[in-house]
Amino acid sequence: MSVANGFYTIRLVFSKTGRARYISHLDLNRTMTRVLRRAGIPLWYTEGFNRHPYITFAAPLSLGSESLCERMDFRLTDDSLTMEEIVDRINASMPEGLRALKASEAIHKVCLLGFAAYRMQLSCTAEELSAFLAQETIAVEKKAKKGGTKTLDIKPYLDVAAVQATENGCELTVTLPCSNDVTVNPALLTSALSAFCGREITASVLRLELYDLQRRVFV
């Protein structure tokens, strides 16, 4: 493993399900800082007046969504622990709903993140969803970076893997962009679907995997 500036960067893959889906991104940062401090691993701290562990997340998850593929980077001062030991120690100090799945050396830079795959349980019928997806364009209002809103056609960005009818509605498996240039949040899709159906469609969202710009699994 490579060492630069006196620390090793570890990338942790973890799931966030059940009660943990109500932990906001800001709160997750605080929660994970304490998880790492409890875990008894050789944490690297920032220098300066207010020293703290350095942690960063690849792609913030919306409040209420679940995920099987969150990525968090943090730094260790040495490589005395195996990746398996790191995972075990972190899991021993995780709250309900958060679970470490894998630790490895960080390879891709976070700016290379390109896409995210989701499974969405929707309260509309499979027919409604298919009709919605078959539209020529799907225009949504999106917050512009410089304030105000802009209209965006998300149709070209939808990479639909499957549509399936379920007991309470339907299930959509879809890959959406989440890069520096363009991000389509599942909530955008749901609000466009609600407008299409003329009623509020509820969605429970599970993020399945993150990919880089070449659609390789983000590692």
């Binding site: 009660r19 109500y22 906001s24 709160d27 997750l28 605080r30």
Partner: protein
Amino acid sequence: MANPDELFLKVQKPSRYTGGELNSVMKDKTAVDVRFAFCFPDLYEVGMSHLGMKILYGLFNHQPWLWCERVFAPDTDMEALMRENHIPLWGLESRDPLSAFDFIGFTLQYEMSFTAILNMLDLAGLPIRSADRDESHPIVVAGGPCACNPEPIADFVDLFFLGEGEEVDLEVLELYREMKRAGCYTKAEFLRRAAQIEGVYVPSLYEVTYNEDGTIGAVTPKDGAPSVVRKRIIRDLDHCYYPDYFVVPFSDIVFDRAQSEIFRGCIRGCRFCQAGFIYRPVREKSPEVINKQSHDLCASTGYEEFSLSSLSTSDYTRLEELLPRLLEWSEKEHTNISLPSLRVDGFSEELAARLNVLRRAGLTFAPEAGTQRLRDAINKNVTEEEIFRTTGKAFSAGWSAVKLYFMLGLPTETLEDVAGIAHLGQKIVNSFYQNPDRPKGKGVTISISCSCFVPKPFTPFQWEPQDTAEQLAEKQQHLRDNVTTKKISLSTHDNKVSFIEAVLARGDRRLCAVLEEVWRGGSRLDAWSEYFDYDRWMKAFAQCGLDPAFYANRRRPYEEVLPWDHLDYGVTKEFLIRENKKAYAAQTTLNCRQQCQGCGAACWKEGVCVERR
């Protein structure tokens, strides 16, 4: 029944309601005998900061037969959704409705939380009055500082714990468990037997009669209840349970850190301060125990900061011994020590530097009064010399902001004392500019915060009238008129809230009707200014035929039967009368370590009362 889950995404800060935080305790409900819902009658971020709750949560859950869960007051957005969807208030751990519990326990930290208690009982689907609850309902209990005069909520709570809860709470819960097991449980019989336990006050077993002038005639016990109920204390803090874990919240709470209690009680005896009297006698923990408990807590929570908790950190006799021990591991583990209510002077240079004492303590003083005469009258032993010594050091070290806390409306206060607050601020401003080492290119800012004095039970000022709203307004204006520099920023408290607080603090049982009325009118989280509605309170007093000024603004004679006279907190009335008279003579009283004043707390023969001097 709908599931609370469906509401979480529709409210602000859902993680206040979800539970599942690290270290929260899950048990098999079929494997425990007693379930206890520990309720803090305020929002999650306030209640989760409270040390007493963490201690009792740990202690209760340490018992295999008992499961204690946490409950907080929902914010108004959540309450509206709960009522709309008929979802009763639930325990955070099991998510079971409160009606499924054996006990519902409230902690009484401040009077303005009383309406939240009624609202939480109602949200739980329970009748709010004890008399309307039967064997099918949980027993409603309460404890905490405001239990020293519980009369304004006596009709809503079945049983009060007086004093420290670690022993008496479990004794009551065990009695309940035994009676259930023996099949002889009835609510009435349970309460009758619980009243025999020291530290337990069952208000329904006491009848209150009133004189024609509205004062209390007599409080008469029945069914064998004791005529005076004495509070409980823990004799040996070193061997008393202390949690080695805290529940670690996801969201930001008011005090988001580990806390180690270092002693209980206070030697000072400031005459306005209820905590200084009701927690007597002072009992310390040893440095070894504090050190271990602090380290264990930090390890199990991952907190990056812990604070030493007490009424006055500097009065801990072994601070110089304790701090180096704590620093030994905390520096290594990047954990900060926070030392609240610390006097900055009196530290060795080396320790002061390692602790970064100035950074931690900040420059905050609570002189409480503007002149030495009034400080003597209230027995607050902060002197101007001490303030200037500390600010002088701090200004030389680059500091330029000072915070000062005062009270308006203290007994014997004159307009001269009020102006003295502004003058003290001005003197600090002047001392800054006279200091040759002051930070260059920076102005000084003095923040003065003035609250309104509220007379409290079991203090030497328990007989004193509170200033009327007009008097307080006049003093606030006089203070503003005397501040002549923009270097001083002045903030004053809403005297209307303080007025209601004063009514409730020294109120009697007749106020239960007012509380019910004002809650039915929509009052909930009165501790939050945005929810406090003064007019609704005044309407409720009128509706119930009670004059709030009778409780707040009347001087009570020493002979009057006070609503809390049948409760015993160790300090005697004779002592409090002595202290009251000394206040009017502007005489100070030595602290407990300098000389015993015979307050009455020596009856326990513990702590400072038996220390060798």
